[in-house]
């Protein structure tokens, strides 16, 4: 056979050159901003940088101080409470709403819009509105009291021991619509034959949801979990708008700690140490997931 044409394997770098060129922004963002930025942050967390970053290493001092700080501990606890409850309630409420919506109801569009519209509003707006609704002098408490229940007390934003639940109420209000949407999409993706099979088997509806449908929606739950979780870690605006971390430090969260110490206390090193702790937590949760999702199984 006459060997005309190219014989050798061409340089791999130049195959699909266009694709690689088009991916440059993504690669730059991933490497320079996300990876570079994170590494930069971690490195500077070992320094005593104040207002401006300085490479003056002090070992683990910033971390020692961080973990000795009552506010950081409270922040972590709050994040844990808020995170766990927010996950549970978002998933439960989102799923229940989606299940209700999936019953071939009338006015589905109207209900869906109602559940989803808060998602269009920023946390700042959400925080302001709920601050208003939960205000004991004007809001729910005063209304209920004016109805004659004078002992009624509902002032989550002014009670340090339950303030985080006040924030949770607002957070759920804002976010469950999206969860419902995701769940609904997942429900609609389930083979209708499964429902029929369950009906023929005489399995009641709630059991079908619980034992058959929910396990089948695992991928949707995972996607949703990731989306909610990424929001939880970042929760900041909501707290700032609703309580500014108060009363006292009762509703502080890690992201706010980072921001306050970096900029208000002008102690970058401390802020970076706190960010590094957050990064570490996120990494511990996310990397195994990302590995399973994107690295482990090869797509066709």
């Amino acid at each position: 056979m006459a060997a005309t044409g190219r014989t050798g394997r061409p340089n791999q770098l130049f195959r699909n050159l266009n694709a690689k060129i088009a991916s440059i922004p993504m690669i730059l963002i991933a490497l320079v901003v996300f990876l570079g930025g994170s590494v930069w942050t971690v490195v500077y967390s070992f320094t005593n940088s104040k207002l401006l970053p300085r490479l003056n290493f002090v070992g683990l001092d910033q971390y020692d101080r961080l973990w000795a700080s009552a506010r950081w501990i409270v922040s972590i606890q709050n994040l844990a409470i808020y995170g766990i409850l927010s996950l549970i309630f978002s998933l439960v409420i989102g799923f229940v709403l989606a299940a209700l919506m999936d019953q071939k109801i009338r006015f589905e569009n109207v209900f869906r819009t109602i559940f989803l519209y808060p998602f269009a509003l920023s946390f700042i707006v959400t925080g302001l509105v709920w601050q208003w609704v939960l205000n004991p002098e004007f809001g729910i408490q005063s209304v209920v009291r004016s109805l004659g229940f004078t002992d009624f007390t509902f002032d989550p934003l002014y009670n340090p021991s339950i303030v985080i639940y006040g924030i949770l109420i607002a957070g759920l209000w804002q976010g469950t619509g999206l969860v419902m949407c995701l769940m609904l999409a997942g429900l609609r993706g389930i083979d209708e034959d499964i429902w029929k099979a369950a009906r023929v088997d005489g399995i009641p509806m709630w059991r079908t949801y619980l034992f058959i449908i929910i396990p089948m929606m695992r991928p949707v739950f995972i996607t949703t979990l990731v989306i909610i979780a990424s929001g939880i870690v970042k929760v900041y605006d909501l707290v700032v708008a609703q309580t500014s971390g108060g009363p006292g430090i009762a509703s502080e969260v890690p992201a706010k700690y980072v921001y306050d110490y970096m900029f208000q206390a002008q102690n970058l090193g401390q802020g970076f140490a706190a960010s590094t702790m957050m990064l570490l937590t996120v990494a511990i949760i996310i990397i195994p997931w990302a590995y399973l999702e994107f690295g482990g199984k090869k797509r066709g």
Binding site: L51, R65, P160, G248, I249, Q264, A265
Partner: protein, 388 residues
């Protein structure tokens, strides 16, 4: 030339005062581009700093006196005003001298002070006490004693906003007014942890715990909302800096008649003098640089000083201006300053980092009745021992 000026003066009295500065500056043929950022210095400062370090500096910016801008200066990002200051003899006119000292780094002057603020004031609503049927207190102790009567009358004894710096400021005020000058200097200037944990300080903490009880139930966030409670007679009093004056004034109230003010909480003859100053980032644009100089000189000028400080309720930075139109309260303050009883404020003595930790501590302390004075004092001593 347009010059963008950033600051966080957005309450009623503050905005009115800023307007005077702007007017004065505009009169020089330049234009004041207002860059107000609402939500107190805590919100505004990060933005200002980001912009300066990010290479997009404004023409001038407000900072508190003291150490907030120190690193920016050290990094060579700020403009040196020494020439102007020498020309206009700032060293001589600006009183007390500590104000200019905190603008001075390595012998160079980097900021133009605008006003003097003192924290140690107790503002009282005359109407509230009338309603409660007690005399208007003459000092903090009277006030504490009157609290039950106020409560009975359905009046909040002490108004305190939720912002952390208010709690922290209240405590510092108690420390100076109840603990005295020496204790104040030992703790805040010398960072003496033993003093901070000592018996004298314990008394202050005890008083803070009382204040906490009196403040319970004031569900407001901003300082001026708290002031408003006093203005409207819903609260008996508020410990707040002299800037609260501006709010009373704006509400059309008269000192002595509608409200009373007690510098040093009526117990002590010392106040601290902190305040605001304008810093001028280094700009490339020659025109703007010139305008910066004009602004600096405008700020320090007697006319602007009078106009501004009357509106703001703070004291002017120069001793050579005539404040005939000042009201009772301001005059009390001026008298103390004139006596030389002005101390350096905590803003200048402590780093922002320490201040922040203090704020965290006291906002927690004031919001959380279950935190004992002892525990708070222990933590306070820790903060002071590691302060810089």
């Amino acid at each position: 030339t347009d010059l963008e000026v950033t600051h966080w003066w957005t309450s009623g009295g503050e905005a009115a005062a800023v307007k005077e500065l702007a007017k004065a500056f505009d009169a020089t043929g330049n234009k004041w581009v207002d860059g107000a950022i609402a939500g107190s210095g805590g919100t505004a400062r990060p933005i200002m700093i980001s912009r300066i370090t990010g290479g997009d500096p404004m023409g001038a910016t407000q900072f508190n006196h003291g150490r907030q801008a120190q690193e920016l200066v050290e990094a060579g990002l700020m403009r040196d005003l020494t020439d102007l200051a020498t020309k206009e003899k700032w060293k001589e006119v600006i009183k007390p001298a500590s104000l200019l000292d905190s603008c001075t780094i390595d012998g160079k002057i980097y900021c133009a002070p605008v006003n003097i603020h003192s924290w140690q004031w107790l503002w009282l609503s005359n109407e509230a006490f009338k309603k409660a049927g007690v005399d208007v207190p003459k000092n903090w102790n009277d006030f504490v004693a009157a609290a039950p009567a106020l409560k009975k009358a359905g009046i909040q004894p002490l108004a305190l906003g939720g912002q952390p710096w208010q709690a922290s400021g209240l405590f510092d005020t108690l420390a100076l007014s109840l603990g005295g000058k020496d204790l104040y200097m030992k703790v805040y200037k010398d960072k003496d942890a033993d003093a901070a944990g000592g018996a004298d300080m314990a008394k202050v903490f005890k008083a803070a715990a009382d204040a906490r009880d009196m403040a319970k139930g004031s569900n407001v966030q901003d300082w001026n909302q708290a002031t408003n409670l006093v203005i409207t007679g819903k609260a008996g009093g508020q410990i707040m800096g002299d800037w609260a004056q501006g709010e009373f004034q704006l509400a059309g109230q008269t000192a002595g008649k509608d409200y009373s003010c007690l510098p040093g909480l009526g117990l002590s003859d010392y106040i601290t003098t902190g305040g605001d100053a304008f810093y001028f980032p280094l700009l490339k644009d020659k025109e703007k640089a010139k305008a910066q100089e004009v602004l600096a000189s405008t700020i320090v000028s007697p006319k602007a000083q009078v106009a501004f400080n009357l509106k703001k309720g703070s004291l002017p930075i120069r001793g050579d201006v005539d404040l005939a139109s000042a009201n009772d309260c301001m005059k009390k303050g001026l008298a103390i300053v004139a006596k030389g009883n002005a101390l350096i404020s905590t803003d200048q003595l402590l780093s922002a980092d320490t201040q922040k930790q203090k704020e965290d501590l006291f906002s927690q302390f004031f919001a959380n009745p279950s935190m004992t004075a002892d525990a708070a004092q222990k933590r306070f001593a820790e903060i002071i021992s590691s302060a810089d």
